[in-house]
Symmetry: C2
Subunit: 790 residues, 2 copies
Amino acid sequence: MSSPRRPRSPRPFEPEQWQVREEGLHLERLAQSESVFALGNGHIGVRGNLDEGEPYGLPGTYLNGFFESRPLPYAEAGYGYPEAGQTVVDVTNGKLIRLLVDDEPFDVRYGQVDDHERVLDLRAGVLRRDVRWTSPGGSRVRVCSTRMVSLVQRAVMAIEYVVEAVEADVRVVVQSELVANEEVPVPTGDPRVAVALDRPLEALDVRAHDNGVHLVHRTRRSKLTMAAHMDHLWDGPEDTSVESTVYEDVGRTTFIAVVGVGRPLRIVKFVTYGWSSGRTVPALRDQVGAAAAGARHTGWEGLLDEQRRYLDAFWERSDVRVEGDGEIQQAVRFALFQILQAGARSEQRAIPAKGLTGPGYDGHAFWDTEIFVLPVLTYSEPHSAADALRWRQSILPAARARARALRLSGAVFPWRTIGGEECSAYWPAGSAALHIGADVADAARRYVQATGDADFERDTATELYVETARVWMSAGFFDEAGAYRIDGVTGPDEYSALADNNVYTNLMAARNLQLAADAVERHQAVRNRLQVAPEEVVTWRRAAAAIHVPWDEDLGIHPQSEGFTDHERWDFSLTGAEEYPLMLHYPYLQLYRKQVVKQADLVLAMLLRGDRFSAAQKVANFAYYEGITVRDSSLSAAIQCILAAETGHLDLAYDYWGEAALMDLHDLERNTRDGLHLAALAGAWLGAVFGFGGMRDHGPGLLFRPRLPTALRSLGFTIFWHGGKLAVEVDGDAARYRWDDSKAVRFRHYDDVVELRAGEHRTVPIPPLAARPPLEHPPHRRPEHRVSGG
Amino acid sequence: MSSPRRPRSPRPFEPEQWQVREEGLHLERLAQSESVFALGNGHIGVRGNLDEGEPYGLPGTYLNGFFESRPLPYAEAGYGYPEAGQTVVDVTNGKLIRLLVDDEPFDVRYGQVDDHERVLDLRAGVLRRDVRWTSPGGSRVRVCSTRMVSLVQRAVMAIEYVVEAVEADVRVVVQSELVANEEVPVPTGDPRVAVALDRPLEALDVRAHDNGVHLVHRTRRSKLTMAAHMDHLWDGPEDTSVESTVYEDVGRTTFIAVVGVGRPLRIVKFVTYGWSSGRTVPALRDQVGAAAAGARHTGWEGLLDEQRRYLDAFWERSDVRVEGDGEIQQAVRFALFQILQAGARSEQRAIPAKGLTGPGYDGHAFWDTEIFVLPVLTYSEPHSAADALRWRQSILPAARARARALRLSGAVFPWRTIGGEECSAYWPAGSAALHIGADVADAARRYVQATGDADFERDTATELYVETARVWMSAGFFDEAGAYRIDGVTGPDEYSALADNNVYTNLMAARNLQLAADAVERHQAVRNRLQVAPEEVVTWRRAAAAIHVPWDEDLGIHPQSEGFTDHERWDFSLTGAEEYPLMLHYPYLQLYRKQVVKQADLVLAMLLRGDRFSAAQKVANFAYYEGITVRDSSLSAAIQCILAAETGHLDLAYDYWGEAALMDLHDLERNTRDGLHLAALAGAWLGAVFGFGGMRDHGPGLLFRPRLPTALRSLGFTIFWHGGKLAVEVDGDAARYRWDDSKAVRFRHYDDVVELRAGEHRTVPIPPLAARPPLEHPPHRRPEHRVSGG
């Protein structure tokens, strides 16, 4: 952790348009590359582990929503503390294909790797590997594997595995496996890394068939049942023998053949997964068997075709084009691909902070999803955004119970969870972050505004608005002067806690209250069902209008929370470069009571509630908070990018964009091993669209104020809007907007209203910008100056 | 916990002048009476368990400073969190004397208890028991036991045990035991109740001698070694046989005799204890053997004589006389006796919150000691106060290490500890309560002022002042306007946390800084040793003078902390009587952000820094805080008593006095079972001396503003001052002061200066008082109206 935010050198992946490619095999960053090469579809996630299983950085196969419970220990308990935690489980591994070459196990740590390449293909949606290896005994083989997790058939992972001789014939034994309870390395002492679980799965039903096996297991404490099924097709030398066996935690299909040059053994492995808290073992077993039969019927080529078509449509709708920076071009596409993988088929399950790419943060979902990830999905894969919000609706019973436990009204969404129950064991940074309810409401608002999905507004959004609005009415109060105050809560910045009138929280709460009041007037049936009294609506509107927003007259800026600017400024001259992130070197006691900001808080408020700040306030606020923000959270850079761009610091914005976009490809925080930073990935898109595209969606329609940093020649992106596609191309002087839908679209470009009819396009000039003086940053924490990469 | 603060009825102990007597045996309050009947000397503490061991509420034998370590678990860890906790250990039980009566074990749950009385004699310093029992088989015996823990020979407990027949001869077998690792009941779910330890002691050396045994054990994790030795004298029927045996955890001396009417078996048991972290097993074994030889040499009558003489001197110096309320008269003497027992021989060990009377709070010491208990000891047993402060000095190395961990300068004393290391696992109410350093400094100041002990000031107090002052200079800062601010700390009130400029903390810090600055100028050698630079002293004085004290102009009161009065007032109309204490029914999230006060905070500041508040401010502040203080802490009532008295609410003060004084005798918080509330006991004395005696010691000398509530006829107390005794007698109209020392004494009585020479006394009138309108209190939380008891 000692020197974050500097890329590993040499550059791990060369910038390429549509793929992420590793040349050679870099064991020292194996765990990181397993995260980068992870495949998933929101339902299944598999880390990019080597086919043969070892060496590994961190083995991982995950099913969305499948977790084990564990007691949360407290040396000093308190009323309302959550009693149980939830941890994502490394489920039955179906990626495993072991290879014996003339009695030597294929293991890249032994013998000689003559050639090794792995490619994540962003258009095909597959991970390819091509390796030539000479065994310690001198046998030479080539192994080509292609792995995919289907975006179309959500239960299906498939692998094509081809092994052939390079010189002389070799006898190969291929063991294709399903392995439950594989050993997982013990995590580091970093509290942010997930707690490992020891053999969490109990075998319930394991069976071998002709060309495959199934394993059904259940978690010991959470009592969730999962089934995995594998099946194979193959062709190869005539005397190839095939046999399947099964033990309690291992299913294995063994292929034995003598392969020659141009006489390979080719195996297609179909693995299917299912899980349930309610369905029986036979039902689950049959479900995965049926999914496997379906996949076999589609066939390997059929699966590849489906995948390619799905992605073609996605890229056509959602691609971001960057001219002038190949590294970021690649990073933005990688980001979009991984967000799609996290959300495409999550289907009313959470989208965790790391997607399904690793065990980081115990596999929990946070507010990141709504504020960072869902904007991307809303404008590119909107049905996934809707599904993620339906998940919030589905956990309302748990959220209502949590509100009761906290002695609040309405529904309090958990700070961190898999199944819906609060799993945060440190309440000042967990339960006290009440803003999460307003974040959910805002994400619902954005989705409704972007899609016009009236059914969703009626059936889902309104209930979310109302139950979260009710929290604010029990958490705040009208003071003597009539202002509405919300005291003692924690805003986005985790280096402050339990503060009064956090500006972000208050402004988001005000919007939340407004949304609830407006929605119940449109949806009387929902209003009746939720028993919303007329006085309730009146009070919501009153509180929203009277919300208290502190202002520091002397400094001419908004304090992040009441009294924040009265605190001592952190003395950065005493903090060494090696003392970041601060939370690993300073107690909360010190962090909370000083002016030092972990991540965009007031600055995030200026993005999401940009309508509540004047341009001059934004300039002054941004400059002030840049001086005390240390960006110890991966959530911060993208937001700082966007506000830097808005306030005219375009080159600084570009630096932040690079940091957000390359967080995982360059492993800037040194913890990509535990899974991808989905919010930072989303930041790559946010930086493009909200940052340099200058898009804002906080009003009733869209607004664009595009402007490029000097390094970029052009930027293009597409926004999915009410079923149509709005393509935006920006260069140094002008922006070109193209609309493809049959209805007309209206939006603003700076101060002008632009209206486009079907197929129409328009090029409009970008107003000139006065140069801004450079800003002060904490020493060691200015973002790396970005030299356009590739 | 449902309805605290109401006495159990009927009254458990009749009010008597010099004893606490239980008539009959009340098994339903056995655990409470074990705490009330606890004996100790600050080094050894034994609960008032029955001689025969069972039934018990909670067995308990404790050695001051002897603890076991345990890991502190955190579901989410943070930088600087303490890793290990410390828990007081129930050590080898030497109280145990089992009795077999004609083959029936003597157990009050079986057969027939014909008579049972236990008496704690406050002048003799012993616990007497007299029981007549008929066995299920019809044998009748009388057992009289007298138990003492010597205040003079600190290693010694002794028991005289006499058994005789009531009718026919009976054969008795008496097993006098030492038992290690006795079973301890599992504590309740209440987080405040100590965690039990399972068999914490490992046997190292166990040996039987002629008339006794010794057992040497060591704790498994903390590696502390303890030795217990027992020895006996006896006389009885001629054919009495005696034999000693020993096992790993049990040593036993068995007496067999046939006793008749007037032909008893009388046994005197001497038990001695010692422990060490450094001494060897043979050294400890010999140490307890020598102590036992010394006790035998003194003999039973000798021990009783020593004890009586010690207590005669104590009572002459320290008695409080209350005319008009026998219940409180008894309670105040009980309180003084128990405080003496906790402090007399603690000798540079902590005085825990429960003394050595039970396992509550894990046996930890808190700031209670300095602020509540040490004032009592300072004016009645000053050498014990000095010793308790020398303990603080002895743990400075741990406190300096803690300051470094918290990234502060100087020394941060632990919120809770046995051995010196911070054991608090909830930092917002633990480490953040930085006021503890100022509390320690203030206790040292009081001791020095009361005794004139210049050696102590030089050798102990100055170092305490300096190291605690340094904390304030790193925890606070001068703001733009030049005021000195201390942000983000927790004051005494545990229903607020992490607030800015807590008035109590700031005013106590200012005094602490002043003390340090003054002391280093008197003690250059200490100053040099502690490397106090001249600028450091200048800054201490500057900060002390510029300390920021928030003031609410609109309400005309001091907010407890910055912004406190801007918060929503707790809506008491929604809180049922059964929802107290609030912390067991509401999350901290709700408590912290509203105006609701657990315990005197600003009100405590008005006592200890009374010099910084005008009389009008005290009246207004007290009225305001009475309306929002729920007194969910046993620390609160005494302080509210004192300020009620000062602000003229004398009958309310009387009610609070009753609550503080009777906390344990009436088990008002329903947890006396876990040990006595030493601070509440101290409150009985504080209520008398600081409350109705109106004494203040915050200036350079003493001030008295005595005034009695209507129920009391007179109140008398004695203050030990610079080696002399100042006796104060107050009645409705006047106060009489008598001074017995050869030097003259000067003090203030209201606005007058009184000077007395040796042997002189003076009677001065008490000025009349205007009636005050009654105050508002939270419903259900006004103290019980006190009808003068007994």
